[in-house]
Structures are given as C-alpha cells and as structure tokens.
C-alpha cells in the first residue's frame, strides 16, 4: 500500500516535470550577433575558383563573398546589374563591341585602385590566345573555349583606366557573363616578381599581354595555375603570402584550416554595395547531411544546404529553432528516347514515331512526382516545358498551352487508351509486347530506382515491355545508342539558352549530332531555331518564340518528355532573417548583405 503510494507520487511528479520541460531559452544577446556559420559538404581547395580543377561550388562561394563584379544571379534566377561596381553597354552590334566602365574610387583590400586592367585577367586565362604549347604557357582555366576566345584584340582602355572597350570577332549572345575581376593583376605579377612595386607589377602584366612576352606570361601562368591551390593542404595564417589574399569584395579572408573551415571578415574598404550586417562568415565543412542537420539543431552552424531526402526534411521541420526553405534546383529530370536505339532499327519513320508516342503516353509523370518528389517539396508539380521554363515561371503555362505537351498531361486512363490504340495500329498488344531497353544511372539512388519501376509498370499495362537496366557508369554510355530510353537530369549554370543547341542541335558538318545530343535527334528546324540563341541578342519574347518552335518540334517528333524539377532545401537558424536560397551560383550566399539576426 505504502509502496504504491510512493510510486503514484513519483509518477505525478514526473508528469508535472515532463509537462514543463522543453523550454530552451537562448542566451541573451542573440539579436546582436554578427556571426554566420555556413555548413558546406565539400572542402575548399583553392582561392582560384576559375582553375579547371577547382571550379567547385565551395570555392565559388568564397570567390563571390570576397569578390566583386558587374552582375550576379538572384534567387529568381535574374541577372542583377551591380551598378555600385560599374556599368556595361553594347556600343555596336556588328562587330559586337562592349564598353565596360568600373566606378571611380573602388579599391582592392590592399588599397590599390581597381581598374580596367584587372579585367584583363579573365581574357588572358579564358581566351586561349595567351597559351603557347611550344613555350609551355598554359592558363588552366575552366572558361577555356568559351566566348572570350572571340576577342582577339587588346581592348581600348581610357586614360583614367576605368573604361575598356572590347571588340568581338564573332557575335556571342552570352557576352554579359564574361567580364569580371578575379585576382588583382599587380598581386598576381608580384607572386612571380616579388621585388616589383604595385605600379611596376601592373605595368609588367599589361606589357606582357600587349606584346605577348612569353617569358613573363609563362611565369604568370605558372603562378596562376598553382599558387592559389593550397587551401586543402595548408592553413591561411600570418605566414601566408598577403598577395594571395587581396580581395575586392565585401569580405576578406581572415583564416583557413585545411579541410575544415574558412573564416571571412568584413572588408572595411568595400564600398561598391551595401555594407553587410554580418561581420564574420565562417564556412565549415560537414560532409554528412544528417550531421549538418544536427549541427544546426545544436547551434554550431547557422545555415545548411544539404542533399535533400524525405527523412531529413521531416527531421529538420521538427527542429524547434530551424526554418526550412524549400526551393527548386536548377536541375530537371527528363526522359529521352534514343532515336538510334536498337528497337527502332529498320522501322519506318511514321511507325517509330507512333510507337515512341505510345511509350511517352504511358509515362506516369504525375505518379512519379506525387510519390517521389512531393516528399521533399509538397508543392512540386509535373514539369511540362523542356526548354525548360520551370513551373514558377509564367512562361511555363504559356508554353505548355501551345507546345503540344497536352496529350501527356491527360488523365491516366485517357493516356493509356491512346497509347493502346497507337500500339494496336502496328500490331502490338499485351500478348505481343513492344520490347524496349531503359538505361538509367545511379542504381543506389532510391528516387531513380523508383522512377524506373513506375515507368516499367505503367508501360506494361498497354503492351510495352521495358527492360530496365541501371548502371553506375551509365553516363559513359550516353550516346552509344545501345538502349532505347534513358532518363537523367540536365543542370543549368546560367539562364542563357545557348546550351540547348548542344543538347538538341546538329554539328557544324550538318549530318552528325552535337556533343551532348545523345539521342541523335537531327531536326534542321530545331537546329536553325536554336542557333538564333547564340547568333542574335534576343529579348525575352524573342527567346520564347525560338523555344516555342523548338518545343513544338520536340513533342511532334516525340523524342522525350520533361519529368520534374529537382527539389532542394536549405535550412537556417530561426533567428537569422532574410535567408533566400537560390538555385544558380552563388546559391545561398547571394544576398549576404541582407542577412541579420
């Protein structure tokens, strides 16, 4: 009797205590914090993110926070002009002539003036005109082979050295993304020639570029290729050569521990944009997504952008001090029909088209989105534009109204009936099925595995037997025409449409597909239309019309289907305001000056 009374008392006390627990109160002063710690999954490797080996998101984040430029992408994928830094305009369309003007009074973090000569770095490294195999000069840049090679003449630079006028030999529609500053040219030169003063160093660089002085260029290229690539092996501390650390942006580099972290502090000399409230940004490497989420819950980091899985999203949403931001990635999954796949061999064009259409009608896109994407982003929708205009873009609805995607958006019964009719026309049925091979990548990826299973199951209902063949090295086999179908994702790094021609265009010889046209779709109408993206400066409407022509042909020829836009997430401490994740680089850090507690 006595004993049970004690138990009862304890139980009541326990319930009372449990009821009042869980009131975690943050220490005072939280609102005055000026420190943000961002978790990243990979290590930073170099201060030169333009190097072809070091063009990583993590290096790019540092480059953006410590760098400056004419424009940047915001979270709506709009290219915003940064007039605090400078302006640019088209002087002439033919030949394409661009004038860039850097504002007066902007300085590098060592106090040296930022001027048009600093823009030369990008031209020297990317154009290829300053490489010389015989002399061993090679600038190992990721921009190699891009539009910069179309500039061959040294720009005209004004007397105050702020304005530069660049003349392109050929037209290039993506010129707006080319011009910017990276490393100060005087500091780069001083790495090779440490005894020169700032002025002498800049002069030596400019002269070497003007006269193609291969000896100097080799010394500079060697420094450019190697000197900055120490972040994963050596710390940044008082002994680091200060010439490596000169920046132009809102932050300077205070310290770095290889493989672990880098700390940036506000640059007192920065004046081309709003002064950030956050005085210190620390970038911390946490490879594991779950660990990222728990580090955020434990207040060790303030912002994370992990690989999204349904389980992680749920656990992040359950954390009391966390805000979860879902957003669409700049990556979209799509299904391709390989026009040279073995199944179509020997068929007439009309028959093959019918059968392809039948197949595409069976693809359960809504089911795929409902079952596999909505677990991460409940607002996810089927993607109906292959250009693509993503669902949030008003052009998505406009495009899908006219492109011919309509039949694929019907209810399942309607689609399957239509598919059955097309198959029956050519003698295929569930008893005599059409046999196709589906090739897909990442066999350990649950989403891909389930997508493939849903496709196979839906196709079987009408008499298409899909042989699903996953492979870890699927990407090596793209374009080898050994399968009939593939599904994978294309990812965008900018909003220019020039890349579409690489995927769907015809090579310059007029008979073979372009590099990434793995499905061997040779449609002259499409190629001609898409070429306009590179050959002309189109406004949004003009570009839409081109893409409309392309999408109409795409659905007419039944060469594939867009599936869905990837869902991404970011999460941040609840008290940190104005976190606005963005799909395009510089991703989550793009609006650092708006962050505050």
């Amino acid at each position: 009797m006595k004993f049970s009374r004690i138990i009862r008392a304890v139980a009541i006390a326990a319930v009372g205590v449990l009821g009042t627990s869980g009131l975690a109160v943050a220490p005072a002063g939280a609102a005055d914090r000026t420190l943000v710690r961002i978790a990243e999954s990979n290590v930073r490797t170099s201060l030169n993110s333009s190097h072809s080996d070091h063009n990583l998101v993590e290096n790019g984040t540092v480059a953006y926070l410590t760098g400056d430029g004419f424009n940047y992408y915001n979270n709506k994928s709009q290219l915003v002009k940064k007039t605090g830094f400078g302006t640019y305009r088209i002087v002439k369309q033919k030949p394409l002539t661009i004038e860039t003007k850097i504002n007066k009074g902007l300085v590098w973090s060592d106090g040296t003036q930022i001027d048009a000569y600093d823009l030369l770095e990008g031209w020297v490294t990317d154009s290829g005109h300053f490489d010389n195999e015989a002399r061993g000069v090679y600038w190992d840049s990721v921009g190699k082979g891009g539009g910069m090679q179309k500039i061959t003449k040294f720009p005209v630079i004004s007397a105050d050295s702020l304005t530069a006028t660049w003349t392109f030999d050929e037209f290039d529609s993506s010129w707006e993304l080319f011009f910017g500053i990276g490393r100060p040219v005087h500091a780069l030169t001083q790495l090779a020639y440490p005894t020169l003063s700032d002025g002498q160093a800049k002069a030596r660089f400019v002269n070497a570029v003007k006269k193609k002085d291969w000896t100097v260029l080799k010394a500079l290229a060697d420094q450019w290729n190697t000197a900055y690539n120490f972040i994963d092996t050596k710390p940044i501390d008082a002994t680091t050569n200060p010439n490596l650390l000169i920046t132009a942006g809102a932050y300077t580099i205070k310290s770095s521990v290889p493989g672990k972290s880098m700390t940036l502090v506000a640059n007192p000399l920065y004046k081309s944009g709003p002064k950030p409230t956050i005085k210190t940004i620390q970038l911390v490497t946490i490879p594991d997504s779950t660990a990222m989420g728990q580090a955020l819950a434990n207040g060790e980091v303030d912002i994370i952008a992990p690989q999204a899985t349904a389980a992680l999203v749920n656990s992040l949403k359950a954390q009391p001090n966390t805000t979860v931001y879902g957003f669409g990635a700049a990556t979209y999954e799509h299904l391709d029909v390989d026009l040279k796949g073995p199944a179509w061999a020997g068929m007439s064009a009309a028959k093959a088209n019918d059968l392809r259409r039948a197949l595409l009608l069976t693809i359960p896109r809504q089911e795929i989105v409902d079952k596999l994407v909505k677990t991460i982003n409940p607002a996810a929708k089927v993607l109906n534009s292959i250009t693509p205009y993503f669902n949030a873009d008003p052009n998505h609805a406009k495009m899908s109204a006219t492109s011919g995607v309509k039949p694929y958006t019907d209810a399942e019964a309607t689609r399957l009936a239509a598919a059955k009719a097309l198959l029956a026309k050519h003698g295929y049925s569930t008893t005599n099925p059409l046999k196709l091979t589906l090739h897909w990548g990442g066999p350990t990826n649950e989403r891909r595995k389930n997508t493939a299973a849903l496709i196979v199951a839906a196709a079987a209902k009408v008499g298409i037997e899909v042989n699903s063949k996953p492979s870890a090295v699927w990407s090596q086999e793209l374009g080898n025409n050994k399968s009939d179908l593939q599904f994978f994702a294309w990812s965008q790094t900018s909003t220019v449409f020039t890349g579409l021609r690489t995927i769907y265009g015809i090579a310059d010889d007029g008979t073979t597909p372009r590099n990434s046209n793995y499905i061997d779709w040779l449609n002259p109408t499409v190629d001609k239309a898409l070429a306009r993206h590179s050959d002309e400066i189109l406004d949004a409407d003009g570009a839409f019309k081109v893409n409309q022509t392309f999408e109409k042909e795409y659905f007419k020829d039944a060469v594939g289907l867009p599936l869905f836009q990837w869902a991404s997430i970011a999460a941040a401490t609840k008290t940190l305001k104005n976190v606005k994740p963005s799909a395009l680089s510089p991703q989550i850090v793009w609006n650092y000056w708006e962050w505050k507690y």
């Binding site: 304890v10 006390a13 326990a14 205590v17 449990l18 009131l23 975690a24 109160v25 943050a26 220490p27 914090r33 420190l35 990979n42 290590v43 170099s46 072809s52 080996d53 990721v142 921009g143 190699k144 082979g145 891009g146 690539n229 120490f230 994963d232 092996t233 050596k234 205070k254 310290s255 290889p258 493989g259 672990k260 972290s261 700390t263 620390q282 911390v284 490497t285 946490i286 490879p287 779950t290 728990q294 580090a295 819950a297 434990n298 207040g299 060790e300 990548g441 870890a472 090295v473 990407s475 090596q476 793209l478 294309w490 990812s491 790094t493 020039t498 890349g499 690489t502 590099n515 990434s516």
Partner: protein
C-alpha cells in the same frame, strides 16, 4: 624468429598487392568520374572533358593504371616514391599527412579508454559471475555490440549534445531524472559491492542517498555552468584514490604503504594552492609534461624513501597516487575555464559539439583549448567506445573465468594467499595474455569503424578522406588511405603474434 618475421612480411606484401589491385580496379569501375562534364551544357564542356580524361588518365584501362600507380608508390616511375596527386591536383601525401594525426587521436583515445574500462568491467563481471551485475553487463554488452555506430552517433548527438546543451540554459535537474540517475548509479555500485541481500539493500540505500545529495547540490548550485572541485573535494577524492590504489596495489593491510599513500594524498590540497598561480592564462601546455614527470618523481621518492622493506611496491603505489591526485588539481583547473568557454562568442552557450575536432578561430589559452578538445572528443570517442568496450568486457570476463579455473589458482588459494593477491597477481596478469590479440584486431577494427565515425562527426581524418575519395573517384586518395590502414592493420597483427609469444612461453613462433 627472424625467419618467421621475414616470412610474415613476405605474406603481408602479397596480401597488400592483391588487395590494392582489387580495390583499385573496383573503385575505378564503380562510377563515372566524368558524369558532371557529360551532363554539362556549357559550350566548352567538350574541351573540359578532354582535359579531364588526360589529367585522370582515363584513356588507360584501370588494370594498367594500377601498375602506373604502383610504380609511382615504389618510386619506379623516375620521379621518386609518391602517392600522386588528388583530382584537384594537391599532393596526396600532404592531405594524408593532415588526416593521420586526426584519426590517430580519435582512435588512440577511444582504444585506451575502451581497454581500461572494458577490462575493469569484465573483471568485476567475472568476479561477480551470475550476479545481477553480471547479467546486466552481459545484456548491455551484447546490446551495444550489435548497435550500428552511425545510429549510436545520431542518438548521442541528440541526447548528449543537443538536449544537454538545451538543458544547460537552465541546469536544474528534474526530480524524476534525479531519482533515476541516483537509483541506477546506486544499483550499479551495490551490485559491484555484492554480498547478502540485506547488505545489498543497505549499500543501495546509502549510495542512493549520497547520489541524490550530490545531484541535488549540482542542480541547486548551477554547478554544471561553473564546475569546480575546490580544495575540499580534491582532498576527499585524493584520500579515496589513496585507499583504492593501495588496496589494488598492495592491500590495505600493508600499513606502511597505506600511510605513504595517505600522506601523498594529504599533500594534494597544499599543492592545489601552490599550483593556482602557476596554472595561469599564460601557462604553456608543454610545461604539463615536466609537471607530470615531477609528480611521478615525488611519488617515487616518497615511496622509496619511506617504503621500508617494500621499497618497490611503495614507490609504485606512491607514483600512481601522486599522479592521480595531481590529475585532480589539473582537472579542477580545466573546470574553472568552463565558464569562459561557455560564454565564448564561438560557443555561444552550446559547449558540447556534434561536429569537428575543434572550433576554428577560438584562440584561447591552454585551458580553453583543452576544454575545446574535450567537448569535441566527447561524442565520437563515446560512440567508438560504446561499441568496442562491449568486446573487451566479454573477452576479459571469459579470459579471467578461464584462468580462475586453472590448477595454479587453486594452489595459490590453498597455500593461503589473500584473495587480492590471487586475483591481482596470479589471475589478472595471466588473463591479459589472450587479450593482446584482441587489442590488435580491435585497433584495426577501430580504424575501419573510424571511416563512419569520422564522416558522421565531420572529423577530417583518413576515414573521411576515403569517403570523399570514393565519391569523387579520386583513386590516388582512396589508395593512399587503403594502403596505410591495411599496412597498419597487418603490422598490428604481426606485433600481436610476436607479443603473444613473448608473453606466453608455451607459444613458439619458429615453425
């Protein structure tokens, strides 16, 4: 003996050759390093693709590339022996060089702690065979033994870090938790002490009351935010150490040694006050070694000088007592820095960390850095230990039980030796022999286990490098980790065999 070692090393090299060849090729065909570039719609993707193929030698089939790599490792490529470059072009040796100390730190600490704690529990468990304690420990050991470490890590982070840090905002222990902790602690203690039912319940009640009092004190004074032992607690604990160590070392009945131990313990509060100004904010960490040696010296001299007929055991006991008592003073000093650490801007009231091996940029004195190292080591060490302690408990229990059934133990008892002497001198030492083999295996196992632990706790040791290497198809990096860990595992096995033969004269290694 030498012949045996040479034979073993020969076999070791063959195993290495085979395993590295397999792993190299499996890693090489496990995915497509060019996937990103193939899916790039950049106008210059083709050029970058060509560049990457050239840099990574992807035009050479993996088995041939393996021999290129092997030549590089052996220095036959003409450029000296080298682990090569990572895909980003950094020297693998530099990256590995940074990672090895991190892994070693993690593994060494958890191995030592696992051995000490595991063997202690195992011995107690064997001595109290078929008791409540024994059954509970057996159950818990099997439970932990079967837990996946990543799951243990996630739970540890949730409860020992996130929830504990939340709790620290207002560190009042709720009565139900206080009851629970006090009871579990008391139950374990009473089970270890053992004895008749009546004695058990008396011990249980006493320990419960003491635990409850301590927890109430901790809760009421906010001790967890400003922890310290203070001279009084240090004195009491030092006396406890003196009794305990003397009992294990020579037995309390040896009055001379006991008096020496108690005298050394009595000196501790004096040294506490002497050391406070020395342990200032400018204290250099390297001084700690000198102090440790000096402490051992004092213990040795006192024990030796006053040891009478038992100079050796007295000196030994004196050294251990002096060292542990001095350790209490150091522990107290670290505790005094806890408050500063807690309020540091980089810590911001969240002292127990879930990721990383230290907080970058924290820049504090020796004491702050010590607390920082502790707060980061706590969880990963605990995760590795939970799994590995269980093994030691089981093995040392079984080993001691087997030894206790030997004839020579019966003989020792028969000739009237005290139970302490039988256990500590005859049984315990012999029971350790089979454990040497386990230790070598366990070290290799922990290196393997560290792959997951490091990843989960974001320690950039060799395990994390292995993971990143695999994800990026960075063959040179993966192979360097594989080579180093497999060599160390094989070498440890060899050493274990040799030590085994040295410890147990019945084992020969000649043929």
């Amino acid at each position: 003996m030498i012949q045996y070692i040479i034979r073993r090393i020969g076999a070791l090299l063959l195993v290495l050759l085979g395993s590295t060849f397999l792993i190299y090729n499996l890693t090489a065909i496990s995915g497509d390093p060019l996937e990103d570039l193939r899916l790039s719609t950049e106008p210059n993707a083709q050029i970058l693709l060509q560049q990457a193929i050239e840099k990574l030698q992807l035009d050479i089939p993996p088995p041939v590339r393996y021999f290129n790599w092997l030549m590089g490792i052996l220095g036959l490529g003409g450029a000296g022996a080298s682990f090569g470059l990572t895909v980003e072009g950094s020297a693998v040796i530099d990256i590995i060089g940074l990672a090895i100390p991190i892994t070693i730190r993690l593994v060494i600490i958890s191995t030592i702690l696992s051995i000490v704690i595991g063997i202690s529990i195992g011995i107690i468990s064997a001595l109290r065979q078929y008791s409540r304690f024994d059954y509970s420990i057996t159950f818990i050991a099997f439970l932990f033994f079967s837990l996946p470490i990543f799951w243990v890590a996630v739970l540890l982070k949730q409860f020992a870090a996130i929830e504990f840090n939340n709790f620290l905002y207002d560190p009042v222990i709720a009565p139900n938790w206080m009851f629970g902790f006090a009871f579990v602690g008391a139950f374990i203690f009473a089970s270890i002490v053992g004895g008749e039912k009546k004695r058990f319940f008396i011990t249980l009640a006493g320990a419960f009351a003491l635990n409850f009092a301590i927890l109430s004190y901790i809760s009421a004074t906010g001790w967890l935010l400003t922890p310290s032992l203070g001279p009084v607690m240090i004195s009491v604990m030092a006396l406890g150490v003196a009794f305990g160590i003397t009992q294990l070392s020579t037995g309390i009945s040896n009055r001379r040694v006991l008096i020496i131990s108690l005298a050394l313990a009595a000196l501790t509060p004096v040294f506490y006050f002497v050391m406070q100004p020395v342990f200032s904010e400018t204290f250099e960490g390297s001084m700690m070694w000198l102090l440790a040696i000096a402490t051992l010296g004092v213990g040795f001299v006192v024990g030796y000088a006053f040891g009478g007929d038992d100079k050796g055991p007295a000196a030994r006991t004196g050294m251990i007592v002096a060292f542990l008592s001095a350790g209490l003073i150091v522990l107290d000093r670290f505790m005094q820095s806890w408050d500063d650490y807690y309020n540091n801007e980089w810590i911001f009231g969240r002292p127990i960390a879930t990721v990383g091996d230290s907080k970058p940029d924290i820049a504090g004195d020796f004491w702050i850095m010590g607390v920082d190292a502790f707060s980061h080591l706590l969880l990963p060490t605990a995760a590795l230990m939970l799994v590995s302690v269980a093994g030691y408990v089981r093995y040392s229990r079984a080993s001691l039980l087997e030894v206790l059934n030997q004839d020579y133990i019966r003989t020792a008892r028969a000739k009237g030796l005290t139970e302490r002497t039988v256990i500590m001198r005859h049984a315990f030492r012999n029971s350790l022999i089979p454990l040497t083999t386990i230790m070598a295996f366990d070290f290799a196992g922990l290196l393997g286990g560290a792959i997951i632990t490091e990843q989960v706790f974001a320690w950039r040791g060799m395990g994390t490098l292995f993971n990143t290497g695999l994800a990026k198809f960075d063959l040179n990096l993966v192979m360097a980790v594989v080579l180093i860990t497999s060599i160390s595992a094989l070498v440890f096995n060899l050493i274990a065999d040799l030590v085994y033969s040295a410890l147990d004269p019945r084992i020969r290694v000649t043929k």
